[in-house]
């Protein structure tokens, strides 16, 4: 052990490594990955030395690639304007390697390239691969990496792989993919990314619940009436109609993002914050979701499509009119679910989830609705009575937490009005929270998989979601409900909620 390293480790600086991005000419690399790396460099969180190699099919020089990435950083990096001096030293370590995913020779060339970089910069053969490609390419790349001797299962030097979403399209394909990737990598080397887990507010869920003494005692069926989780987008399918036809919002948003958020809300306290303890509890929660009884899917799940309408000042077409979409399509762009949890804490507390394209605005939030006070003293019969207490946790935009409660209206009566006690990240902490990708890439560089999805978690959520898809397939419906774009969804969704309940207007 190097005694000079004593006490330095806690600063979370990753070991020197080469990162290879497969699919580096794609959108994600330009918009998110390179800007995140640049910002990490700006914040001195990148390892030193470090290098990133972009791998994709089109021929291009290192210089071309650097130029494109610079443009991406100019537009999308969190810390802008880009610092010239910093960029020039960062760009010196950015390279491009042309090759096709199915060409073994390309991997041999990649190997040679990385060895040259190792020698030049003094990197001890640590590797971080990032699969930012169409999911159909994952198995080919993984197999080729293995066959080319580019994967070491050793702890040092390490090899890790980040796999983008979607991880499978149903239980079976997720299981197959898990098997494929685990033939080459150990589970601890695999980082299945769900960028929602990189969001500051999502991580704050753990701190909020388990770092404060006052909330957890209320976090159960004695005090909580129900939970609503909303993942709304204002955008439509953005020209990706053909992709969306195959996906649908249940796969695209619920199976991964909303289920991850829900499991952080619902899980039991982990025994420690290490990656496996946290994920053990999340899986346990997902496994305690009550399966929807056969033939009853419509009582628990509402699916719909947006029709034409108006969103944020624009007139927008309906889903079926989008390019690439089958005019007879029954693919859902809206889904609402009622989920019951069979465990001690959440017995009889429904979790309502909804997600949709073309809602009035983009918002992701969790709302914990508390029970009413047991005995009502105020506002009897006046309609100005108690206000339900709601704790809303806003994941995006304007990350923050608000507690909604009733307060006496000043004056001689005891009328009650709803008021908010609010904490906003952007105003309590002046600096912007890091982008999700910054945090997640850094964690993968450090080998910390707490915020990544484990194999059993992916399979547990697919187990639940695939049953819904199967039930829908059996229904063979010719059409599903529609709602006007720019509204909060179809009226059918209101019926999922019980008597006297309604969806929050986030």
């Amino acid at each position: 052990m190097n005694p000079l390293r004593d006490g330095l480790i806690k600063e979370r600086v990753p070991a020197p490594q080469v990162m290879v991005i497969f699919g580096a000419s794609g959108d994600l690399t330009r918009r998110k990955l390179l800007p995140a790396l640049y910002t990490l460099a700006r914040e001195r969180q990148l390892p030193s030395p470090f290098s990133v190699v972009g791998f994709a099919r089109r021929p291009k020089s290192d210089e071309d690639f650097r130029g494109e990435m610079r443009e991406g950083c100019d537009r999308f990096a969190r810390r802008r304007p880009v610092d010239e001096t910093l960029w020039s030293s960062f760009a010196e370590c950015v390279f491009y390697q042309q090759g096709s995913f199915d060409d073994a020779a390309a991997y041999a060339a990649l190997k040679t390239r990385m060895e040259e970089i190792d020698a030049k910069l003094g990197i001890p053969a640590n590797r971080l691969y990032y699969l930012s490609t169409p999911p159909s390419a994952y198995p080919t790349i993984i197999d080729n990496l293995g066959a080319a001797g580019l994967v070491s299962r050793a702890y040092e030097p390490f090899t890790r792989i980040i796999v983008e979403k979607p991880f499978g399209r149903d239980l079976e394909s997720a299981q197959v993919l898990n098997r494929q990737v685990k033939q080459v990598f150990r589970e601890a080397q695999i980082f299945r990314i769900d960028h929602y887990l990189g969001k500051e507010t999502v991580q704050n869920m753990l701190v909020f619940r388990f770092g404060n003494g006052i909330f957890e005692p209320l976090w159960n069926n004695r005090y909580v009436d129900h939970v609503q989780i909303t993942g709304a987008e204002a955008i439509g399918v953005e020209g990706r109609g053909a992709y969306y036809e195959e996906a649908g919002i249940l796969r695209d948003m619920v199976q991964n993002h909303l289920f991850q958020v829900m499991s952080l809300v619902g899980m039991e306290p982990p025994i420690s914050m290490d990656s496996n303890s946290v994920r053990d509890e999340k899986v346990k929660f997902l496994r305690s979701l009550r399966h929807i009884p056969d033939g009853k899917v419509d009582e628990y799940v509402v699916r719909a499509q947006y029709a034409s309408g108006h969103v944020l000042g624009e007139s927008v077409p309906g889903y079926k009119e989008e390019p690439g979409v089958d005019p007879q399509s029954t693919t859902e762009t809206y889904v609402a679910l009622k989920l019951l949890v069979d465990n001690w804490r959440w017995a009889n507390v429904p979790f309502f989830l909804r997600s949709s394209k073309r809602m009035p605005k983009r918002v992701t939030e969790i709302a914990i609705h508390f029970r009413q006070a047991p005995h009502q003293l105020f506002g009897n019969g006046t309609g100005k009575g108690p206000v339900p207490n709601v704790l809303s946790i806003r994941i995006q935009p304007n990350e923050g937490i608000a507690l909604h409660f009733g307060s006496k209206i000043p004056g001689p009566t005891t009328d009650i009005a709803p008021v908010n006690m609010e904490f906003l990240y952007g105003t309590s902490f002046g600096n912007e929270p890091p982008e999700a990708y910054e945090r997640l890439i850094l964690d993968a560089m450090l080998g910390d998989s707490t915020l990544f999805t484990r194999d059993d978690e992916v399979e547990a959520s697919w187990t639940f979601i695939t049953r819904i898809h199967q039930a829908w397939a059996e229904q063979k419906k010719k059409q599903i409900p529609v709602f006007e774009a720019g509204s909060w969804g179809p009226s059918e969704a209101d019926e999922l909620l019980g008597e006297g309940m309604h969806w929050r207007r986030p």
Partner: protein
């Protein structure tokens, strides 16, 4: 009261200046008036609300000009800091007695509010500043009680003592008693004695010491550590043959702290000072290690040191040299059997970033007291045995 757009500070900041020379019993009231003014101005401009956010009480001490380091002053630095860490700023300015306003008052106060548009959506985040000028010794005596009265309850207190070396006077001790954390900067002090005083303070007080001079060394410490990562290299540290360190005149204290850190990691050592007369070196010591003894030489010369003023560290061990050398303001080179002159970019943090980091982390770096103590002993040429 008046609003000053971009009043000489960070872009986008608006200052709402309250009265000068206000009644000290009325400070909170004056501030409330400024908040209202800021809120109304935001509403008129069609902006979202003004948020009175506060994470820290920052007590900033500004000594008279002749005692200052001669760098941008702490209040200016804090304009950048408070845009990221909304705070209540209590600015204590010590002025000569002769400047006291007529009427014989030993202190006077003013308030203002500085607002920055939040990056997260249109809110103005404002930091409130309460300035207190104390005239001469009598004025200074009022500072602690005023600070006690003006702190925001339940929030931590950081004493920002960046404009001069922290001398162990009554004022510092009194203010330290009220503080959870103190930010000092030992690097700009030309005096090695500063490290000796800070060392004593660190051991005597409960407040956590955040030394910007130490924080500047963080990237260097990582690089020096990396010289000994390869298998077998740690073993060579047990057979040291000599250490030479070169700094610029303004980097002396960085050099001492770096040496202090290095020696603190090496296990059992004995030190004695040696006469440097007749050598180029400014200081010379002899260290006895388990396996023999080795000299340390400290050289001070002009050169392009980075932010910390370090020029070179050369560790001779097990028959080989492990060297970290400043190449230019932004690069260092690592020369060792494993690194062969590898040039690395060195991105130092600027001072506002250091302060934000110093307020953000856990406070005291566990390695600091030990490194500081050894640095102090080196300076004091105090023989020791550890």
């Amino acid at each position: 009261m008046s609003a000053v757009q971009n009043g000489g500070q960070s872009a986008g900041a608006i200052t709402y200046a309250g009265g000068q020379n206000i009644d000290l019993a009325n400070v909170e009231h004056e501030l409330a008036g400024l908040w209202r003014q800021a809120g109304e101005a935001a509403a008129e401009a069609g902006q979202r609300s003004v948020t009175r956010a506060c994470l820290w009480n920052l007590v900033v001490y500004q000594p008279p000009p002749e005692q200052r380091y001669g760098r941008p002053s702490a209040p200016r630095l804090l304009d950048d800091v408070t845009a990221a860490v909304p705070s209540r700023l209590l600015r204590l300015e010590l002025r000569p007695e002769a400047e006291a306003p007529s009427g014989g008052k030993a202190v006077s106060a003013w308030v203002n509010t500085k607002c920055n548009i939040s990056p997260a959506g249109g809110h103005q985040i404002c930091t409130e500043e309460i300035g207190i000028a104390g005239f001469g010794r009598k004025g200074q005596a009022h500072f602690p009680a005023l600070v006690r009265a003006l702190l925001v309850p339940d929030l931590p207190v950081a004493l920002v003592w960046l404009d001069s070396a922290p001398h162990k006077g009554r004022l510092l001790r009194d203010l330290l008693r009220l503080s959870d954390r103190i930010l000092v900067d030992t690097q700009p002090s030309a005096e090695g004695a500063t490290l000796i005083e800070v060392d004593e303070l660190v051991r005597e007080t409960h407040a956590q010491f955040v030394d910007l001079g130490w924080m500047r060394l963080t990237p260097v410490r990582y690089m020096v550590a990396s010289l000994f990562d390869a298998p077998g290299r740690p073993e060579q540290l047990k057979h040291l043959e000599g250490i030479r360190i070169d700094t610029t005149p303004s980097g002396r204290n960085s050099g001492f702290l770096l040496l202090g850190w290095l020696l603190s990691r090496l296990g059992k050592l004995e030190l004695s000072a040696e006469d440097a007369a007749g050598r180029e070196a400014e200081f010379r010591w002899k260290i006895r290690q388990e396996n023999g003894s080795f000299p340390i030489e400290f050289h001070v010369r002009e050169g392009e040191g980075g932010l910390d003023g370090l020029l070179c560290l050369d560790v001779a061990a097990g028959g080989e040299h492990f060297v970290l050398r400043q190449v230019d303001a932004l690069h260092v080179a690592l020369d060792s059997p494993d690194h062969g002159g590898k040039k690395l970019a060195l991105h130092g943090w600027d001072d506002p970033e250091l302060v934000v980091a110093g307020l953000g982390g856990p406070g005291l770096d566990a390695l600091y007291p030990e490194a500081l103590n050894i640095a102090a002993r080196l300076i004091g040429a105090e023989a020791w045995n550890r």
